[in-house]
Amino acid sequence: MYSLADIIYRRMTETFGASDFLEPLFTIVSYLLPCIAILGIVSLISGALTLLERKISADIQNRIGPNRVGPFGIFQFIVDGVKLLLKEDIIPDAADKKLFRLAPYIVFSSTVLAVIVIPFGGPFIVADLNIGLLFIVVVSSLVVVGFMMSGWASNNKWALLGGIRSAAQIISYEIPVALSLLTVALITGTFSMQEIVKQQGLYPWQWFILHNPFTFIAFFIYFVSSLAEINRLPFDFPEAESELVSGYNTEYSGMRFGFFFVAEFANIFVSAALAAAVFLGGGNIGIDPYNSPLGYKLLMALVFFAKALSLCLVTIWVRWTLPRLRIDHMMSLCWKYFIPISVFCLVLTAAWLVAFKGNGVFWRIAG
């Protein structure tokens, strides 16, 4: 398995020579460097997404949007971040102070943990775990702990309601997400993200979304349930502004709120990136990702980002189109529709694989 960490580790042993004494240092550095890079990239992307969201919402509502800071307002998110840093950090007297301080970090770190197994095209993946897909599913439900923690520690009824709602919602939508991702795992026979991307190709008929009719349905189920999992409209019950002031982050201010905010937008990117990698071929352009010139590797990353960002755009577009569901409708949508349909897709994909010897609909074209 190749990943950024492996590549850096190999470089270091080549330059400094392999030794038992330096080996732990090499390992730590080779994992730390890509992690820090990923942290920066994710923060940048979530900042860019806040700007994108404001611009697109403005376009949809015939407004202009932020346009004062820099050309077309592109530095708006930096200004927002600086503003959040300068704001007073208030912790309510009645709050459970330790949990209150801890919660934003748990939410943020669970998001960033999910990013480390996302293949950014080519060899750009921090750690190519052989349980990659499961790891994302597991880690992204860790967010619930942070939300519940912040809701409970705030000692505020709105925050608590928001936390509980988010727990109910994320846990129930975890099931269709996992089941629809499993349809692809059935086809690939592996959970390794690099391997999943590698088994697809450059052209749409090589992607797993068009492998058979059931993965096609599974893609949409995954996308809609991931909207619920990242608390986006039409499923933003945890922070429903009109019902709960701002949900679990009502009592937060300053950079603690900023962590929730960054995590929320990073989650959009993570779910879009996962959909792009698993269903839409990721950064695969039909070339070996490891032994090709750097230009091709960067092209793969570009292809991946194009796919992921266009799914982010769809997420934002949906958010400014649909009103919030009623909470019982949200639950019935999950339990009566998504879970049965995704189980149906899973079983029928398995049947398809048996019946057609693992070939997709377009297997003659795809070769």
Partner: protein, 170 residues
């Protein structure tokens, strides 16, 4: 059987109504231009704030001194007495020595504009009255004494046709 049909109809309804909504927002996203006016500082070339106001907008009161005959009718009709005029006679010539309108008190009822027989007092479109001292809003239209315009002959002034014509003019 009916329940099963309803189940699939629900799915179809969800998909089709969502698609309809998304189509509408996409139309606005991609094709509709924004209608925002960036009011104070980015109005576009040659456009002043006054141009944004509609026709017959009731902004600050403006005075045409070459028309004013110093009849004091506006001062008398003003319900909140925000207009202050003094006139003086010097060798059979009337001078207007003071014409103050306190725009901070004015309620823009328009009675003075209607009362003015010479249509010297009019509404302008100016609406930006922000200032640091409320006294700045007391606008002194006369810096030094001005000769009052000669009133039209009485017969002409009471001509009803002429009167309506004047009102229509503003």
């Amino acid at each position: 059987m009916k329940a099963a049909a309803q189940y699939f109809k629900n799915i179809w309804d969800a998909v089709s109504t969502t698609a309809a909504g998304m189509r509408i927002t996409m139309k606005y996203w991609l094709f509709e231009p924004s209608i925002t006016v960036e009011y104070p500082d980015r109005l576009g070339k040659g456009i002043k704030a006054e141009d944004l106001a509609a026709d017959r907008y009731r902004g600050f009161l403006g005075l045409n001194l070459s028309k004013c005959i110093g009849c004091l009718q506006c001062m008398r009709v003003c319900p909140i007495e925000c207009i202050k005029i003094t006139t003086e006679r010097l060798e059979n010539v009337r001078f207007i020595t003071r014409f103050d309108i306190d725009q901070s008190k004015c309620m823009y009822c328009g009675l003075c504009v209607e009362a003015c027989p010479a249509s010297a007092l009019v509404f302008t479109k100016r609406f930006e009255g922000a200032c640091y001292d409320i006294n700045e809003l007391c606008i002194r239209h006369i810096k030094e004494a001005v000769k009052a315009a000669a009133p039209k002959s009485k017969a002409e002034g009471q001509n009803s046709e002429n009167r309506t014509g004047r009102i229509n003019e503003y």
